[in-house]
Symmetry: C2
């Protein structure tokens, strides 16, 4: 099914993704721990909304890709990825999938007894590498503390019989962006796994950026949000961490309205002009994934500077105040997020949400296209005039 033609479009900067990966690797390399941890680049949720077809080629320098489901893993293989793939959220891999050489090297997060049963009954010459998940404080999946070692022992028996590629230790932190709670979660996990051999994968972007040394002392880091140029830490944006935004979400101005004093705009007439006001109508609405919670003044960028939303965001349209931008005409592109002046973090804040929700919330009608930096964004597209 082809994407339908529509105004809003997400421009994906593959070089920014590659740059962000390199920045994170460099940061880790600065820690002289004697280890050199490898990196799982997280590309679940269609690469956080950026499109696997753009992210996978940009992540060649990663050691592996981490996805949620077997379907995503197959798409990565179709896109030419030959290094390890970690499936993190699919407890129901079929026998055929586990026995399919196309998926290997395959790493699989084991978070449920049923998966161990399945591995025990599997007659396959292939050896998946498994990662035993501790439920930790998140409680989204995985084994509780008193079940962890018995589960490990069963996996170890399989491994001794030559049926596994290896056994690792795995956890998602519930509070990776809070230094104190992060330290407590790390300690709990260290106690849990004391004396158990095997690589450790517990650290994410936030943990790496908050305490690089502790993160560099593990074996496989999982970096997601930061790959796309977005800060996982509250109060900082990606640029402050040396990251570049990978997505510029844009839509064209399709009309101008000259409001008179007293005129309203949008459904429910929630905005009324106090004096004559020039507004721009932008071909983007909540059916594209733009947050309906964005209210008066939520920032957007137009060629020449910043502007703000007026009136309610509707299904297909949002309107902006062009009082300070008399030169803007139909065909000009409005950036809704993803410029240096307008990180997605700021829009998330104005819309009472978080950046990954905005990135992954774009709908099917928004095409994700590789960025063409040569397009002069300051010139209006004639088709709209």
């Amino acid at each position: 099914m082809q994407p339908l033609r529509h105004g809003a479009c997400a421009h994906i900067d593959r070089q920014a993704i590659a740059h962000n990966l390199q920045t994170l690797q460099h940061r880790m390399g600065l820690e002289k721990t004697g280890r050199s941890p490898r990196i799982w680049a997280i590309v679940k949720a269609d690469a956080y909304g950026h499109g696997l077809e753009h992210a996978v080629p940009a992540l060649q320098a990663a050691d592996g890709l981490a996805v949620l489901s077997a379907s995503e893993a197959y798409r990565c293989r179709q896109l030419g990825w030959s290094k390890p793939i970690l499936i993190m959220g699919d407890q129901q891999l079929t026998r055929d999938e586990l026995s399919d050489p196309a998926l290997y090297p395959l790493h699989w997060v084991v978070e449920h007894e049923g998966q161990i049963n399945q591995l025990e009954s599997l007659a396959s010459v292939l050896q998946p590498h498994v990662w035993l998940r501790f439920t930790g404080n998140l409680h989204h999946a995985g084994f509780q503390a008193h079940h962890y070692r018995p589960a490990y022992a069963r996996l170890q028996a399989l491994s001794a019989a030559g049926r596994l590629g290896g056994i690792g230790h795995f956890q998602h932190y519930a509070n990776a962006e809070d230094p104190e709670q992060l330290a407590a979660e790390r300690q709990l996990f260290a106690q849990l796994t004391i004396g158990l051999p095997g690589p450790v994968s517990t650290e994410n972007s936030a943990a790496l950026l908050l305490s690089a040394r502790a993160a560099a002392n593990t074996d496989w880091l999982r970096v997601g949000l930061a790959l796309y140029g977005v800060s996982p830490l509250p109060g900082l944006d990606g640029a402050a961490l040396g990251l570049k935004p990978a997505m510029a979400f844009q839509a064209p101005i399709y009309g101008i309205q000259e409001l008179q004093a007293g005129d309203s705009v949008g459904y429910g007439s929630t905005f009324r002009a106090e004096r004559p006001l020039r507004i721009g109508l932008v071909q983007c609405g909540y059916a594209d994934g733009y947050p309906r919670a964005a209210t008066l003044g939520c920032p957007v960028h137009v060629p020449g500077g910043m502007a703000g939303i007026v009136g309610r965001v509707s299904m297909d349209t949002l309107s902006i105040n062009l009082d300070q931008h008399p030169h803007i005409v139909p065909g000009h592109q409005v950036t809704l997020w993803g410029r240096p002046e307008l990180p997605v973090e700021n829009v998330a804040l104005a819309a009472a949400t978080i950046a990954p929700q905005l990135l992954t919330g774009l709908t099917a009608r928004v095409p994700r296209v590789a960025q063409t930096p040569e397009t002069p964004a300051s010139q209006p597209d004639k088709r709209h005039q």
Copy 2:
């Protein structure tokens, strides 16, 4: 591109869509106005998120389909629709599109001078039917009052030369769900068009349900939200208006956690159990389009009754309180909206948004499948056990 396998799925009930259309037609028919208005069934935004492939076959009894863009119009034609199509939001139809017999019978909303210029310069034997749009209080597009009659005169000259199929009058109300403001908007439009021949299309679901007689006195109604079983009027749900929900949004339970007193669940540990608590983990998150703004207690339905969300909705997971549902196990389906006990209107209210935002906000990874009523929803799927 195939949709990726994932837990969340939107089940579309085509019979409900057909029923809702019939209900609206019946309501209109009860008004003995001497006219018998025709109906544009609105299928923009991929049929409000339900999928054109499901909606178009269910809307055979409509007089025409209304879409936003030429791409959507082409998809309706590919799906076999041969009656009129109204393109409402595409000011930039190309010469080729306007001259393509495949799009006809074609109706086109004219909201900009550039479109009239284009029609004047078009040498085509085909005759589009045009609808002149008044900007009204919405100010999203269209001609202001003092430009309306001059624009009409230009179109009339084209029509006299045999180059148009007809000229209609068109408006979107800004406040259709408020009886007083609706009456004022209707009056403004009546004054604007006094003495101008041509059919009128101003009424939507809300206007029809609020004052059927006034709506039945126009020529073409545009019904959208109500077709999908959702009330366009605040304080009422679809069932109260005789409508049936067309979408049941469901996802499976993939895990159970037995929390101890003091245990937290989810990122940020925003929920902490005060006593031992059984929670269910549901394979649906904000990357599916489920609202992250849904907080503690936001209702869901499980086989046997209602339950509520605990903890933060994350990218791929949400968790629910199963204290009252000891029989629920992995594989059971959770309905997130779209059952008689759980209209989408209620979820929208709990998440501080509106129903069409939820429906159109589902992302590409949620398959839209035709409902198979024979599936016994109360039995868990074995694959998840």
